[in-house]
Amino acid sequence: MATVELSFTALPAHVRTARLVATAVARRSGVDESLLDEVRLAVGEACSRAVEGHQLYCPAEPVRLSLTDLAGRFEVEVTDTCAPFARSPGGAGAVAARPGADPAGSPPGAGARVPAGLGIAVIEGLADEVQISETAAGTSIRMSWPSAGGSR
């Protein structure tokens, strides 16, 4: 069972809250202070990606975040539920379900954006371990960092 689970409406304003919660739990789990900025940024990237996908395909569905203090590891999983909506007739295609893809593309009014997948590249550059998997529901990004553990 996760140490802390968070489910939030897919709005950009809530991504900051998710970052703050993840950083607080990471600190309590014994993640080294020097790694907390990485946790904060990687979790923010994963949540931003999920929020943008949900806003495109399923705005009523919440984004889920689980933070788990394992033995010696702090693990974060961000899960979107875009896949069934992206694949549905009239949906924008199955892009959202492809690991490593940016499901958001260019949302209306986004202007010039960074190339698709840069958020994933940042996550891969920051997290100690990253696993991106596709489920029937959507994409799961699992990241982990070393921790002192034992603070559940």
Partner: protein
């Protein structure tokens, strides 16, 4: 902390002061300001990020978009940043080669002048 934006002219270059967090929620405001400046014919920009506490890939996208817009008018967009936590994301994404990144606003202005 939310995002605070301000801008002023110095030696013919428009300095954009950014304070707070640039993320998926706040980045659109920075984007709008950069577009407004370009629309008002400010093509030489320096974005002062010394008081930026957080920057994600959405923010990077806005800066890249701003650079693209000023370059369309033979302009420039340089950054002022000395914070390691912010510089790290530029390094990870390879954008240190795309932006001129300076320690101070005066240094950014001097570097721009030297290139002219």
């Amino acid at each position: 902390m939310d995002l605070k934006l301000d801008h002023h002219g110095k030696d013919g270059i428009e300095i954009v002061d950014v304070e707070g967090e640039i993320d998926v929620y706040t980045a659109p405001r920075l984007r709008e300001l950069l577009i407004e400046l370009v629309n008002n014919r400010f093509y030489q920009l320096v974005v002062n990020m010394e008081k930026v506490e957080f920057l994600d890939s959405t923010g990077l996208g806005v800066l890249v978009g701003g650079l693209k817009r000023v370059r369309a008018h033979d302009g420039s967009l340089d950054l002022v940043c000395t914070q390691e936590r912010i510089l790290k994301i530029f390094r990870i994404t390879g954008l240190t080669k795309v932006f001129g990144i300076h320690d101070t606003v005066d240094e950014a202005i001097a570097a721009r002048r030297a290139e002219k």
